[in-house]
Subunit: 215 residues, 2 copies
């Protein structure tokens, strides 16, 4: 498969594919002559993964590059790579240090994690993007004066726990190791808008149930 066909089958313009090549998101094809390369199905899958992260997950390309580096890192064992790839995913504003709201948030999060008994090994330590992201979000809630204590967070943690089981089940349904990692990344990202959309629908439904006349 050459560039034009790769572009056609993926629905991405050649200019954009070249851009991804340039940025190191898409590995170069197998050089068949000095000025031509051959691409295969793995390049198609990679393009899908890139689009999932950029278009759906709205991750900046630098983050995508970091995630893909982990996906491609053959020096780690399979399970570490799944964890590490998801590890690298989060984005968004990092919380600023030396902020009292951040310290309070960190405390809240620690109590929550104690309460639900998440031990996190090296995959989700206090330096992991997911943890930082969570602390930043809780800090923002504190800063804006909205309630966010352990009691408020518990239902969220319980929900997250059940979703993680479903997610990992789905990942384990793949046989190929490479596809498992890609699925872990893609599904983590792609199910986010699903989750947020369902939550909003559920809020509307609950609104109706509590207040609505139904009309």
């Amino acid at each position: 498969m050459r560039l034009a066909q790769l572009s056609e089958r993926s629905g991405i313009t050649t200019a954009t594919v070249k851009y991804y090549l340039r940025e190191g998101l898409l590995p170069p094809g197998r050089r068949v002559t000095a000025t031509q390369s051959e691409y295969d199905e793995s390049h198609l899958r990679r393009l899908r993964l890139i689009r999932a992260m950029t278009q759906v997950g709205r991750l900046p390309v630098t983050t995508v590059r970091e995630v893909l580096a982990v996906v491609d890192d053959g020096s780690q064992d399979q399970h570490s790579r799944i964890g590490a790839a998801v590890w690298a995913l989060p984005h968004g504003n990092e919380p600023t240090a030396d902020d009292p709201a951040v310290a309070a948030a960190e405390h809240t999060v620690q109590m929550l994690l104690d309460r639900v008994g998440w031990s996190f090994g090296r995959l989700a330590g206090p330096d992991s993007p997911a943890y930082r992201k969570l602390v930043g979000a809780v800090a923002e809630l504190h800063r804006l004066g909205y309630p966010c204590n352990v009691e408020n967070l518990l239902p969220y943690a319980a929900a997250a726990s059940r979703l993680a089981e479903a997610d990992l089940d789905l990942v384990e349904s793949y046989d190929d190791a490479e596809e498992q990692i890609e699925a872990a990344v893609a599904c983590t990202v792609l199910y986010e808008p699903v989750l947020l959309g369902l939550r909003r629908l559920a809020e509307a439904e609950e609104c109706n149930r509590r207040f609505g006349t139904g009309s």
Copy 2:
């Protein structure tokens, strides 16, 4: 309170406050002379709400304007406004019509909603942003070849349902009508990164439990 103090207490530069005034996100202050206005606590709360939506929710300003229009719309009753404000919140790429993946997604979503028994009145019909967002997300999963049938979605819907109860409980804990609406919007937006962060931590935890040696 005048502009400089509003800026200082909110931590937003005067230039940006002026920008929000210009864009119609922040209502003008009470004109005290020809060249000066007086701002109050409601302006501070409004600024917090704007920042929650723009900084945390990453909503474009046009969307923020639409949401705030509903928040300020006195012609509707309280409960409709809560629903309507959350209704207007979603953003992101609208699914393109005449796409087979969208049709399939719509079918899947319909079956899911049947299954969980969400009736949605006028708050969450098939034209609501939340519904469109959900369909678009499911379509993207289909398009990229990842499994997303009713069975996959059920745990997500169940989780969303429980979270909605917690969210509405929190909203109802406010006494003031205006604050209830603001809290509904703010908490819907502000708890999103919390939820996504917890989900990623939970995935890491589940990864550890299934595969990890712990070390």
